[in-house]
């Protein structure tokens, strides 16, 4: 039997179906948490913020205008919540390089739903490299490369011109690739993704 669509779950949530709400939480918890981790660079803070996001989603279910754009709306809420938290914690936290010891803590050693084939070493390397990026570049990577949002959606979210988002995405991608190579110059030129 096919899993219910997000639109179906949302409709049932609005009717008070608590099982539908649980299913919705389980479906999106990974994404909300992943985005929170990248903004906040701290698993505990990210977990608290992710829970706050879901409480906010719950209160605003009736305000969702387009169920098909639910993920974009969720990512917007998550981003705003993370930025609020960062402002309270102090902006410096987001720009610091995460020490190697903490990178292992932030990078989830347990495979996520789409993690098959991504080795722990590779995951930790990517997380270290992400920690070295500027906040702006990391945000582009999170939204475009990880969450696979369209450039137009990102432009709407960040209230930026599409051209600006494109060029920032390109620069962020190059910056991340160059950072990964600097952190692990032993990687062969034609190596694949898994390690």
């Amino acid at each position: 039997m096919a899993a219910p669509t997000t639109e179906t779950l949302l409709e049932r949530c609005r009717e008070g179906d608590e099982l539908a709400w649980e299913a919705l939480v389980r479906r999106y918890q990974g994404r909300v948490f992943a985005v929170s981790v990248q903004y906040l660079r701290d698993r505990e803070e990210a977990r608290d913020t992710a829970q706050d996001v879901f409480v906010q989603i719950y209160r605003k279910l009736g305000a969702v205008r387009d169920d098909r754009a639910f993920l974009a709306w969720v990512l917007r809420l998550t981003r705003n919540r993370c930025l609020d938290r960062l402002r309270r914690l102090g902006a410096r936290r987001s720009d610091r390089e995460v020490p190697v010891e903490e990178a292992a803590e932030i990078a989830d050693p347990a495979p996520g739903p789409e993690d098959r084939g991504l080795g722990g070493d590779r995951r930790r390397l990517l997380d270290r490299a992400l920690g070295r990026l500027s906040t702006q570049s990391r945000e582009m990577i999170v939204l475009k490369e990880m969450q696979e949002m369209r450039v137009g959606e990102i432009a709407d979210l960040l209230d930026l011109p599409v051209g600006t988002v494109k060029s920032r995405c390109h620069r962020a991608r190059l910056e991340l690739a160059e950072t990964v190579r600097k952190l692990d110059p032993s990687r062969p030129a034609e190596a694949g993704g898994a390690s």
């Binding site: 608590e18 709400w21 649980e22 939480v25 389980r26 918890q29 990974g30 994404r31 948490f33 992943a34 981790v37 698993r43 990210a46 977990r47 992710a50 829970q51 879901f54 409480v55 719950y58 209160r59 989830d108 347990a110 996520g112 739903p113 789409e114 993690d115 098959r116 084939g117 991504l118 590779r122 995951r123 990517l126 990577i141 490369e145 990880m146 969450q147 696979e148 369209r150 450039v151 494109k166 995405c169 390109h170 991608r173 190059l174 991340l176 690739a177 160059e178 990964v180 190579r181 990687r187 062969p188 030129a189 034609e190 190596a191 694949g192 993704g193």
Partner: protein
């Protein structure tokens, strides 16, 4: 064939790519033209270009570029991202792609960068979701279910209150003239000193104190009357609520009266205690 025709065919003639008819025409021209023979000798002759041209030093091209257009890697990197991910703007135009591939053949750094970009394109989406750990979903459900239960309880209480008000209790209270007059009287007495002494807390306190002494009895009587009347009419709501209201009114009135009678005398009062002399 004239010299210009030979010059256009020179590279293919050197690399042996000319069709046999063209090659024969070039050979005939070379037999008659010393200038073109010299040119052919410089190019290395037919079918021998690569084997007779000495290998240039590996840094020759970068040095030339540094003195002319600048390093090519920066430009190559601008094209690498769309080469690897054509999803937004479509693939690179063929000519740009071909030129970029030539650079990549010669530049190990850019080749490695391209390989890393390809790997990132595969790996980063796999980081889209992270496991928040045990108990996360339960925590969310507890917070949202609690809200739902609390909202339901509040809605029920409001519904019951609305039923009671709608039964006519409030309209009856409002329509009784004695209640309305007494409530207005108490409100004026309580608000007047506050309004008159706006911005001056000391003056407000003194005004209330004078009110308490001079009008405490009157106010007490009025408050008692209001609360008594309300308590009687609230009998249908609940005897306990009416009793509580009555008790409150009595205590409030008594405290107002005591405020006028029992306050310690001020320093100018004849009975006020005197400080010890040094």
């Amino acid at each position: 064939m004239i010299c210009r025709d030979f010059e256009r065919r020179l590279e293919d003639w050197v690399d042996g790519r000319l069709a046999s008819a063209d090659g024969a025409a070039c050979d005939r021209h070379l037999a008659e033209c010393p200038r073109c023979r010299e040119l052919a000798a410089l190019a290395g002759g037919p079918d021998r270009g690569a084997s007779r041209v000495p290998e240039p030093p590996p840094d020759l091209a970068p040095e030339i570029l540094a003195r002319t257009s600048g390093a090519a890697c920066e430009r190559a990197r601008e094209r690498l991202a769309p080469l690897v991910d054509p999803s937004e703007d479509g693939p690179l135009p063929e000519a740009e792609r071909a030129v970029l591939e030539l650079h990549l053949e010669a530049c190990a750094d850019c080749r490695a960068l391209r390989a890393e970009l390809v790997a990132l394109g595969e790996d980063l989406p796999r980081l889209a979701e992270l496991d928040p750990g045990p108990g996360f979903v339960e925590g969310v459900l507890a917070r949202t279910s609690h809200r739902r239960a609390a909202a339901a309880r509040l809605a029920e209480r409001l519904r019951r209150l609305g039923d009671r008000l709608g039964s006519g209790l409030l309209p009856r209270l409002v329509r009784r003239p004695r209640f309305a007059w007494e409530a207005a009287y108490v409100a004026v007495l309580l608000l007047t000193p506050l309004i008159a002494s706006a911005g001056s807390p000391d003056a407000a306190a003194q005004a209330v104190e004078r009110l308490g002494r001079a009008g405490g009895a009157t106010v007490a009587s009025a408050v008692r009357g209001v609360t008594e009347g309300t308590a009687e009419r609230a009998g249908s709501v609940g005897a306990a609520a009416g009793t509580e209201l009555r008790t409150f009114g009595t205590r409030f009135a008594s405290s107002l009266q005591r405020g006028g009678d029992e306050r310690p005398a001020g320093p100018d009062h004849p009975d006020a205690p005197k400080e010890d002399a040094p």
